[in-house]
Point group: C2
Chain length 246, copies 2
């Protein structure tokens, strides 16, 4: 099965969570917009947003075409790919657990976006900078610790040991935690002060995912778009601040 991933060009964004799963799973895939000549990929993306396939119309990218199926919403795409790429256990309970963790990562991603766009996604950052200063401070000092404490606790409480978020092997959730942590480090280097000391198992997981051969090769490749200020995780120094307890 050749998968077709549709996402905006020029930024990692939510598409990156899907790319990491496709790369780790050694999937046969096309990153349609980036791999097309000229505007051909963007035109196809726009067509699917307008008309979908049969009943299936995505609200927004990323979406994945797999034969006759069009799957949208990042966590839903990962839930679809998980069993197909060997990135989630077979048992139903573990799959619901993985999905709940992925949806919590999605909550972090939304809040990381709103840290620089707290008022309106259709306005520029510069048009909502004072509000962003307030929101980013709350995000760094209240929300990041709350989420990271939770994910650290999930690792500590894993009956199979603190090496994976779900069960005893790599899942797409581990890849997403890696991406979320990488984004938080990029956007909020000050805010992540003390990270490895406060969240040792998360820090270890981030390193182990980065060292996986396929992930390491992907990150070194031109397929990995660098973090930048068009994405979800943006480094605006004026929004970065120290955690409350440092």
């Amino acid at each position: 099965m050749r998968y077709e991933l549709f996402y905006w060009p020029g930024l990692q964004g939510r598409g990156e969570f899907v790319r990491l799963a496709l790369e780790e799973g050694a999937a046969d895939y096309v990153d349609v917009v980036r791999d097309s000549e000229g505007d051909g990929g963007l035109d196809r993306l726009a067509d699917f947003l307008e008309s979908g396939i049969d009943a299936y119309i995505p609200f927004a990218p990323p979406f994945l075409r797999a034969g006759d199926l069009l799957v949208s919403q990042t966590a839903n795409i990962l839930q679809f790919l998980g069993p197909r790429l060997g990135l989630v256990p077979a048992d139903e309970a573990a799959r619901y657990w993985a999905n709940s963790l992925q949806l919590t990562v999605a909550d972090v991603v939304t809040e990381a976006h709103d840290a620089h766009h707290p008022i309106a996604s259709e306005l520029y950052y510069e048009d909502q900078q004072p509000e962003a200063m307030r929101r980013a401070r709350s995000f760094v000092q209240e929300r990041i610790p709350r989420f990271l404490n939770y994910f650290e606790r999930v690792l500590v409480r894993n009956p199979h040991g603190p090496h994976h978020m779900v069960g005893d092997a790599l899942t797409y959730v581990d890849l997403s935690i890696f991406q979320m942590l990488s984004g938080l480090h990029y956007a909020f280097p000050k805010g992540m002060t003390g990270f490895a000391r406060r969240y040792p198992h998360l820090a270890d997981l981030q390193t182990r995912v980065a060292d996986r051969p396929r992930i390491a090769a992907y990150i070194e490749s031109p397929r990995r778009i660098p973090f930048n200020e068009s994405g979800i995780f943006r480094h605006y120094p004026e929004l970065d601040c120290m955690p409350a307890e440092e």
Copy 2:
């Protein structure tokens, strides 16, 4: 199977999407916090948030206990309940489609919350009212039309006709669309001006869900908490405004 739903008392919130599915599915369920004496239910909720069941620790309510399983994140709970309560088709493609729609409803819910809390969930509304005025205007004039146009188009494009969001029978997605629309009407009566004219199939769906015997009985019962200003959908007249095109 007796289900136990855990959610904060006194507000509909995200728990209401689960309640509607349990009610329509005639499930045997306990609304633990509301049905307990004194603080017993809240204490149990706090215990599960701290310790979970085995590996399964919820980040936040709502969560559902089903025997040995603890399922959290609203869309995940509904995905779990759907097949068990006859509220989703059997085929896999329809289930991914239903889940993607439910996750888009979840995005609306998050944005409806942030319309009154754009800066920080730990601050009072009064401490972020100027920012809320800006965000609510964008929500009403940009985001609500974008989401409702999408959901209306999904109904129009349904090969089985515009009566249901997924396939040819009621699913949990229809119930969630009903709840989302009810909340938007409560919070933004001005903002929803022209709703039935602009989104006739959504308006029809909302009425048909409200008229279903079990839903109608539930809404008349004391089990239905009225909308109020502790919930996700809050009516603050100063945040309500007319849509851009009226």
